[in-house]
């Protein structure tokens, strides 16, 4: 842990600010910091942004991130060079972006805004909040292939932004902002979404009125905006369209900057409230998603009512369909396709394995990728990845860890230096992916084993549930270094993964006891420690893992046996979860229906078409933090209450990778 303390130091300072102040204030300390640097900027900027959107927006003021300038502000040119804090902010934004793109179901499967795929992927993350609010507008302004234009424009835009950054003087910015103050006041609300304005309780009614008026004005000015954009060598129809044209250049700039800030703040706030997952009881969204889907799925007739919000499809027909389509689908890279099929067929199980397989497939896909003419690598590749991801989701819902890995990858893509040539970019992406696998998964496992093995003493009876590759490594390593202990493997239907573990341990010469989960309270009396694997750990300390884990942890808790959870830090997620119903995955119900009963045939025959009978095959459950004694991660051994700390502090560090 100690070596990691170093990087922590900076974030910690910041965190203090974050925590001590109330919701709106988190960012307020930051202007002060930037004050010490470019003192001029503050005076103008902070009041400026404070004024329009009220207290909550104030954080917006803080030096805009570079990333921002890439996306939005670059065309507006003058942006102060981001200070260190700004850099952090950028990270935060990145994170927000990840959140946005993490659940591609939302962005890709055509739920909220997207008028076209590419458009969505382009700014799915950074503009997420933005996009949502303006979705109507966007789609209105986009009907005629505006999308392509955007893409084309993007690269020059970025380089220009850099120039702008270099050349901009703070003074100029200040001037601009000062002069445009009134304008920005007016312009800003335009961009604010309804949701945001709802949030700002402090904002006045008149501001809202102005907002309305300006929205109307903007709609009128759309055409003009695009024209203007054209002449400024930035034929970006979408974003200019959003801006009020009839003003002079400078005010416009400021307004856009402050808007951006507002959006970024909004995003940042939202970052802590991760994106909602697709709810399958929302008919319209599901229909939209279906239209895009690659995998043909028929909804199962006999759904479990409690889980209507989760996908419940008939099993068995996707795989043949997919494998027959394998040559006709050119949108999906074959490596990804293969992984998808493997997920669907259950050939790859286990979170780490699935994640690694997916990343390798992405690596391959990136290797084979060539940027189409007139397209930008960053955007196009992100769009591609989004397509892959949605395909994978159709095959099997992603695990949390895979979501995290995808966020990482997208972030890497977005952060590619613009001047990198395509082969270089691809090589760097591939190496980054490789590094992620090595560091975050493989190396992390090794570290966890080193930590966890210190908790195994001679003569102990260790209980584990199901199959977790980390736990297996721990047990084998402990056996290797000569610890004398006994292992109790608890297993459950329908997967019976424990048998796999049992086989491996027995062949390596460990003494094992095998039992089923019902007997866990029988066997728990003789157990001294429980080792569990994890699929994810949420920031409220809830352990999200294979179904049954909660039962084992609960019984262990009742018997006062310590429960040790082994989980790589990349699986941590900033979501929170209270029960196992709201977020879960449903497995094949037939797996439960088929039991080795003597009269099984009759059984299944009579039951099959009965409406009153459902089989529920939950895949995960959530274990409350109170049952967990300790979590062993690659950052050390921590209590479950420390999960949010790791998520908050180290996730940023990850983004710097």
């Amino acid at each position: 842990m100690d070596p990691r303390r170093g990087p922590l130091a900076v974030p910690k300072v910041r965190r203090v600010g974050f925590f001590t102040s109330i919701e709106p204030s988190p960012e307020t300390p930051r202007p002060n910091r930037s004050l010490s640097g470019p003192a001029e900027a503050i005076t103008s900027s902070s009041p400026l942004s404070d004024s329009p959107s009220g207290q909550f927006i104030s954080p917006v003021q803080i030096p805009p991130s570079r990333h921002h300038s890439d996306n939005l502000a670059s065309r507006a040119a003058p942006v102060p060079v981001p200070g260190p804090s700004a850099f952090r902010r950028q990270l935060a934004n990145d994170r927000a972006l990840h959140v946005g793109s993490y659940n591609p179901v939302d962005s890709l499967l055509g739920t909220s805004p997207p008028s076209s795929n590419g458009e969505v992927s382009e700014d799915s993350g950074s503009l997420f909040g933005f996009q949502r609010s303006d979705s109507a507008k966007l789609s209105a302004s986009f009907p005629n292939g505006g999308f392509d234009m955007t893409l084309r424009v993007r690269a020059p835009q970025e380089s220009e932004a850099k120039v702008a950054i270099a050349s901009t003087s703070d003074g100029r910015k200040k001037n601009v902002e000062a002069s445009g103050e009134g304008e920005s006041l007016a312009a800003k609300p335009r961009k604010e979404k309804e949701t945001k304005s709802l949030k700002e309780k402090t904002s006045k009614a008149e501001r809202r009125a102005i907002q309305e008026a300006q929205r109307a004005a903007k709609a009128a000015a759309k055409g003009e905006g695009s024209k203007r954009a054209g002449e400024s060598s930035r034929p970006k129809p979408s974003k200019p369209a959003k801006q009020p044209q009839p003003k002079k250049e400078a005010p416009q700039v400021t307004s856009s900057v402050s808007e951006k800030r507002a959006v970024s703040v909004e995003k940042e706030r939202r970052m802590d409230v991760p994106q909602t997952q697709m709810q399958y009881d929302d008919k319209s969204r599901v229909d939209k998603a279906k239209r895009r889907s690659v995998v043909e799925q028929t909804e199962s007739k006999n759904k479990v009512e409690l889980f209507l919000h989760l996908p419940q499809y008939e099993r068995g027909n996707q795989l043949p369909n997919l494998s027959s389509n394998i040559f006709s689908l050119d949108t999906i890279h074959h490596a990804v396709y293969k992984v998808g099929l493997q997920h669907l067929a259950g050939d790859i199980a286990g979170d780490n394995a699935r994640c690694i397989a997916m990343l390798h497939a992405f690596q391959e896909a990136i290797n084979d990728y060539t940027t189409p003419p007139m397209k930008d690598l960053t955007m196009d590749l992100t769009a591609k990845i989004n397509g892959y991801v949605s395909f994978l989701i159709e095959c099997r819902p992603l695990s949390m860890s895979m979501g995290n890995a995808i966020r990482f990858l997208k972030n890497q893509i977005r952060k590619l230096p613009v001047d990198l040539s395509e082969p270089e970019a691809k090589a760097s992406l591939c190496s980054e992916i490789g590094r992620f696998i090595d560091e975050k998964i493989l190396l992390a496992d090794k570290v966890i084993v080193q930590y966890a093995v210190t908790k195994i003493r001679d003569g102990e009876v260790l209980l584990t549930y199901g199959f977790s590759c980390v736990v297996e490594m721990i047990l084998l390593y402990a056996h290797e270094i000569g610890r004398k202990f006994r292992v109790v493997i608890v297993d459950s239907r329908p997967n019976l993964e424990g048998q796999k573990l049992l086989r491996r341990l027995v062949t390596r010469g460990l003494d094992c006891t095998y039992t089923h989960i019902n007997a866990v309270s029988y066997i728990m009396g003789e157990v001294t420690r429980v080792f569990l694997g994890a699929s994810s750990i949420f920031s409220n300390g809830t352990l999200y893992s294979k179904v049954g884990t909660a039962c084992v942890a609960m019984v262990a808790n009742a018997f006062s046996v310590p429960v040790i959870v082994c989980c790589e830090a990349y699986k941590f997620h900033e979501r929170v979860l209270l029960d196992s119903i709201c977020s879960n995955e449903l497995g094949d119900p037939d797996a439960i229906a088929n039991v080795p009963l003597r009269n099984n045939k009759k059984h299944s025959k009579t039951m099959d078409n009965n409406k009153n009978l459902q089989f529920l095959n939950l895949m995960y459950d959530s274990t409350p933090a109170e049952y967990i004694s300790m979590i062993v991660t690659d950052y050390g051994m921590i209590p479950p209450t420390s999960i949010p700390v790791i998520v908050r502090e180290y996730r940023r560090e990850d983004l710097l990778l």
Binding site: D511, A519, Y522, K546, G548, P596, L597, L616, L618
Partner: protein, 450 residues
């Protein structure tokens, strides 16, 4: 092969044989009576009377008899036979039956219901015997002293020599407070004293008295046992009648294991037009949950089968957990199908009521010690693992040096009373803490240790 009749047959036969060994002289009249009894329980008299071949091994009943109820019924019919032979030696009746009962219990100590029923019958015999004895005593003083009067007297006077436990054990039902007769019954030796003395007083009428008393005792005991048979056979209905009070509209109920009592209970609520949803845990190695689900669906209930591992995940949406008990211990603990403890813990965690349905014959007067181990039954590993794959590891005896692989496959689970919210028996709902009292109503203190 193992039909109900078969076991009834085997059991009664065995009980008969063992009784024959313990009580040597069985006279033709008793045998005739047996034939009658066997006929009444639809058994072939020829078979049951073929007592002359004494080499049949006692059936190991536990594995084959599916449910406790069936068990008890079969036991009772056989115990009825035993009792009938007791008429010959009416004074020893409880003791000889005790020996038979002990054998029955020893055949499978885990089947607690067997012991319960034996104790119940013993209790009936004791009580009838005593009531006769006291009637004789009372007949000397005031000829038609009613029971009620005696009750009052017994209460008022009190017997310093009797312990409170004996008093409690003697009370047969809650409706009947400790009476003089039942007090006397607690100590048979002393109870016989007034009887013999009284009969000895006028010796010429002694033999006549005895024969009439014997007949009366026989009759009463048969009646008592018949009542018990009736009670056990009808306990489902009695319990199911209460369903409507406990299940409301749109409820979600979790159950596990396969219990006819639970089935009837749920169906009774369904028949009363309550619509609710049942989650059934499949009950892994034996999948009894699937059987239950099948029957529930056949009766039109909305049923969802879940894996055992999903019990904790689903419990937060469950309104009530209802299980059938294998046995209820005197402290209010429950022995149920394996996995019950997990469900009970989860229910406790989520403040979901944990309701146990049990006929009164499942109330066991014993206090459990380490019941997870001592009152459990470990079944074959083949239910969990294929032998072929791990057979070399399972082979401890050879000392081949291969690692030790144990497969644990228990049948029962123990739920401590603190996790149980309510017992619903055929006599109504009870708290776990009240169980000891209920048990005292059904059993004699003398019979607790057999």
């Amino acid at each position: 092969i193992y039909t109900k009749e078969f076991f009834l047959e085997r059991l009664s036969y065995w009980a008969f044989v063992s009784a024959a060994q313990t009580l040597r002289p069985i006279k033709p009249p008793a045998s005739h009576y047996l034939v009658f009894l066997f006929n009444s329980v639809s058994l072939s008299p020829e078979y049951s009377l073929s007592t002359s071949s004494p080499h049949r091994s006692p059936p190991s009943h536990s594995h084959r008899c599916r449910t406790c109820n069936r068990w008890c019924l079969s036991l009772l019919t056989s115990s009825g036979n035993v009792r009938l032979r007791d008429l010959k030696l009416q004074r020893d009746a409880p003791w000889s039956f005790l020996a038979v009962g002990a054998q029955l219990v020893a055949a499978n100590p885990v089947e607690l219901a067997v012991g319960n029923v034996v104790r119940r019958v013993l209790h009936i015999i004791r009580e009838e015997d005593l009531s006769l004895a006291t009637a004789a005593v009372a007949g000397l003083d005031l000829l038609d002293a009613s029971d009620d009067d005696e009750d009052v007297n017994g209460k008022g006077i009190g017997y310093p020599g009797m312990s409170a436990a004996v008093v409690a054990a003697a009370a047969r039902s809650t409706l009947r407070p400790p009476s003089l007769q039942t007090l006397l019954e607690g100590t048979p030796e002393s109870a016989t004293v007034p009887y013999t003395s009284s009969s000895g007083a006028d010796s010429e009428s002694k033999t006549a008295d005895k024969s009439s008393i014997t007949r009366k005792l026989k009759h009463d005991v048969i009646e008592g046992v018949n009542q018990l048979i009736h009670e056990i056979a009808g306990c489902h209905e009695q319990i199911a009648e209460q369903a409507i009070e406990h299940i409301h509209q749109n409820e979600v109920i979790l159950t596990l294991g396969s219990s006819r009592t639970v089935l009837e209970f749920l169906c009774a609520a369904k028949e009363k037009k309550r619509s609710f949803r049942v989650f059934v845990a499949e009950g892994a190695p034996r999948y009894q949950g699937h059987l239950l689900a099948k029957e529930l669906v056949a009766r039109g209930l909305q049923t969802t089968v879940i894996t055992d591992s999903a019990v904790f995940a689903m419990i937060s949406r469950v309104n009530m957990v209802i299980i059938g008990a294998h046995a209820v211990m005197a402290n209010g603990g429950v022995i149920g199908p394996v996995g019950v403890n997990m469900a009970a813990l989860a229910a406790k965690k989520h403040a979901v009521p944990f309701v146990v349905l049990a006929g009164s014959h499942k109330l066991c007067p014993l206090y459990p010690h380490n019941p997870e181990v001592l009152l459990n039954e470990l079944r074959s590993p083949s239910e969990l693992l294929d032998f072929g794959e791990f057979s070399d590891c399972l082979d401890f005896g050879t000392g081949s040096g291969s690692p030790l692989l144990q497969v644990v496959n228990p049948t029962f689970d123990y739920v401590p009373p603190s996790l149980v919210s309510l017992f619903i028996t055929d006599t109504g709902g009870h708290n776990p803490s009240y169980m000891y009292r209920l048990i005292a109503d059904y059993y004699s203190a003398d019979d607790l240790v057999m």
